[in-house]
């Protein structure tokens, strides 16, 4: 095991990693930017070191600053948290070159999974279904029609180059396809100077379901169940739960088993997450792998009793996993609400300022992961996550009741938060019935969503 770990992150995850270090009996040094001098992790750390100004490019994103801080403070490993340098294979390699351990997948593993496209092909080769698409680029209309027929309507026409929706169309029939092909080609040519197109199956009302895995250096891997992150606003997750209400127990088991088998076969190492889209029929399609600890990891911890951050550190230290799939027991239901400093009633504009009063909720099954305290000043330079309110209960209905009650207890004064959207969610029929899809909140519109909840109450 390591003697001293540098935590190269901030906010709630810095505190989370610090807690894992404490439990493992490892000293924790917190690397912080000038804007984070007063944060809780800095105050609780065995040592704290300022690595640069508020600008993340010169502090949390600066590989030299982070590595130099680890050397100056005598650390033997670096925990990157999430975001920032956490999935940067170049950084992981430089860390290794300085005889330090990067807590996460080794650089060659990060490199292998760095390209989404290559990762999809790699994991498809190891048995994971991906979103069906045309066999390469569309040669002509006849080829397009044949491929669309094979994939099944509706299909999405996508340009090979670029992005941003240009040259992209969803079509529901051969007639629509024939019309759209011309438009898409000209749009793509105009926008990217390249009019090659391909097809992908259009997933209507999909859900985002992800599988948590842990694989040690010796190729022993387990899955720790899945998480449903379908409640999103503009592709940002705001509420996660486990198990997913979208799949039967059998389907969940199949998904998780396929995921861990493919990941181990593809040579993944350490803690990671495989993300899937699930369509209305319950088919799942692999989209990408996250080679880091995720924001929503606590709901998995609540259901399995396994400390994922400690596991991550132990694996990086070369320890064997120490348990097998049959040792992993998942019980009950867990929900996480992301509490953000943003104004749900004003287009989720992010906020900053002094938290005049903070009081965390408590009681059975409640966990609040947050770096807030009364008097803490939220700096305006980073993401808006203030903390995560997590509830566990034997069943989903009780978990919802608990998290709702806990939300009523939460006090964050002086700063605008997204609590209203959570209140609205927790009385929303689509959510209560487990029918949330990734596009629902944006389709309805947050304002309409909040208003509907206000009327319904």
């Amino acid at each position: 095991m390591f003697h001293r770990i540098l935590i190269a992150n901030r906010g709630e995850i810095a505190l989370r990693v610090l807690r894992a270090c404490r439990q493992l009996g490892v000293e924790a040094v917190v690397a912080y930017s000038e804007a984070d001098r007063d944060t809780l992790a800095v105050q609780l750390a065995d040592e704290a070191i300022c690595i640069g100004p508020a600008d993340a490019r010169r502090s949390y994103l600066s590989a030299p600053a982070v590595i130099s801080a680890a050397l100056v403070t005598g650390c033997d490993a670096i925990h990157p948290g999430y975001g920032f340098l956490s999935e940067d294979d170049g950084f992981a390699e430089v860390v290794r070159a300085h005889d330090l351990v990067f807590i996460g997948p080794p650089s060659h593993v990060l490199e292998r999974f760095a390209s989404k496209e290559a990762t999809r092909r790699l994991l498809a080769a190891h048995g994971l279904p991906t979103i069906p698409g045309s066999d390469g680029m569309l040669r002509d209309d006849a080829h397009a029609i044949a491929e669309a027929e094979r994939i099944g309507y509706p299909v999405l026409i996508k340009p090979s180059a670029g992005g941003g929706g240009k040259g992209m169309r969803m079509v529901r029939s051969q007639r629509e396809l024939e019309t759209a092909m011309k438009l898409c080609r000209s749009e793509a040519r105009a926008a990217f100077g390249d009019d090659s197109l391909y097809l992908e199956r259009w997933l209507e009302d999909n859900r985002h379901v992800e599988v948590q895995i842990a694989v040690d250096r010796y190729g022993s891997g387990v899955h720790l169940g899945e998480r449903d992150c379908s409640v999103q606003r503009r592709h940002q997750k705001i509420l996660e739960e486990s198990p997913t209400p979208a799949l039967s127990e059998t389907a969940r088991a199949e998904l998780c088993e396929k995921a861990i088998r493919a990941a181990v076969a593809a040579g993944y190492e350490n803690v990671g997450t495989l993300e899937f889209l699930v369509d209305r029929e319950g088919n799942f399609y692999f989209i990408e792998i996250n080679c880091r600890i995720q924001v929503e990891h606590p709901i998995t911890e609540m259901r399995t009793g396994i400390d994922l951050v400690a596991t991550q550190i132990r694996i990086a230290a070369g320890e064997p996993l120490g348990f097998t799939q049959s040792d992993v027991r998942q019980t009950g239901h867990a929900i996480e609400l992301r509490i953000n400093a943003e104004d749900a009633e004003n287009d989720f504009r992010p906020g900053a300022g002094v938290v005049e009063r903070y009081l965390a909720p408590g009681g059975p099954g409640i966990r609040m992961d947050s770096h807030l305290y009364s008097g803490y000043e939220v700096p305006p330079f980073y993401d808006s996550l203030l903390g995560k309110l997590i509830a566990w209960a034997p069943d989903r209905a009780t978990a919802i009741a608990r998290v709702r009650s806990a939300l009523d207890e939460l006090v964050v004064e002086g700063i605008v938060t997204n609590v209203p959207i959570h209140r609205a969610l927790l009385v929303n029929d689509a959510f209560l019935d487990g029918r949330m899809t990734t596009n629902l909140l944006d389709r309805v519109g947050s304002a309409a969503f909040l208003a509907a909840a206000a009327r319904g109450q």
Binding site: A31, E34, A35, R37, D38, Q43, L44, I49, C50, I51, G52, P53, A54, D55, R58, S59, P64, A65, I67, S68, A69, L71, V72, T73, H98, N346, G353, V354, G375, Y376, E377, P379
Partner: protein, 207 residues
């Protein structure tokens, strides 16, 4: 006495000035003005008496919608017990060795104009570390007369030297950090002393 108008860095948390605050009428401003004036002329003398009589830490008085609170840091008064042995730092506490968080003013060239001791109006601010790394002062730098921006040494970041420069014209004082020390970003590493005042010999370039 410091001139209040020139103390922006000591005035904290001027909140409410964001665009979410409603427009205020002249009458409302006038009412506020009167309330604050009552505090200033009527209550402050009484407060002074109370506070100095008993060694109090904090006192608060309300007048209409306004509150005035006077407080000294707890440490100065000697009360308040903590559960942990660690020092729990209040955010942006007066006298703490760092620049105010709300106004970080690092300069682009790797040095900082507003170093940790910049708030001390009496002295010249010390030279600070531009990065986290190993401190390498120029040999024999202490005692030299320098201009703002002159190189005083470097901080070695994974083999890449980052310049430590003089924050102002002055005379280089003693080293605060030792050569070879690990230093953090913004840490004072070399003391600076003011130039001799007028009448003493000058190199002519000092304004």
């Amino acid at each position: 006495m410091p001139d209040p108008a020139s103390m922006p860095s000591n005035v904290l948390r001027p909140r409410g000035a964001d665009d979410a605050a409603p427009e205020r009428t002249a009458a409302e401003r006038d009412a506020d003005h009167r309330a604050v004036e009552r505090l200033a002329t009527g209550l402050l003398p009484a407060l002074i008496g109370r506070l100095t009589a008993g060694g109090l830490a904090e006192i608060e008085v309300r007048e209409g919608d306004w509150k005035v609170r006077l407080r000294r840091p707890l440490e100065a008064v000697g009360i308040g017990r903590r559960v942990t042995d660690r020092q729990f730092r209040l955010p942006a506490q007066a006298g703490q060795a760092h620049a105010p968080l709300s106004h970080p003013t690092p300069s682009r060239d790797g040095a900082r104009q507003a170093g940790p001791r910049a708030a001390d109006p009496a002295g010249t601010p010390p030279a600070t570390s531009p990065a986290v790394g190993i401190f390498r002062p120029l040999p024999g730098i202490a005692g030299r007369r320098v201009h703002a921006g002159d190189r005083l040494g470097a901080v070695d970041v994974l083999g890449m030297p980052q310049e430590v420069v003089a924050p102002a014209d002055g005379i280089v004082g003693p080293l605060i950090a030792e050569a070879g020390d690990g230093v953090e970003y913004g840490q004072p590493v070399i003391d600076m002393r003011p130039l001799p005042i007028a009448g003493e010999p000058s190199d002519g370039e000092v304004a």
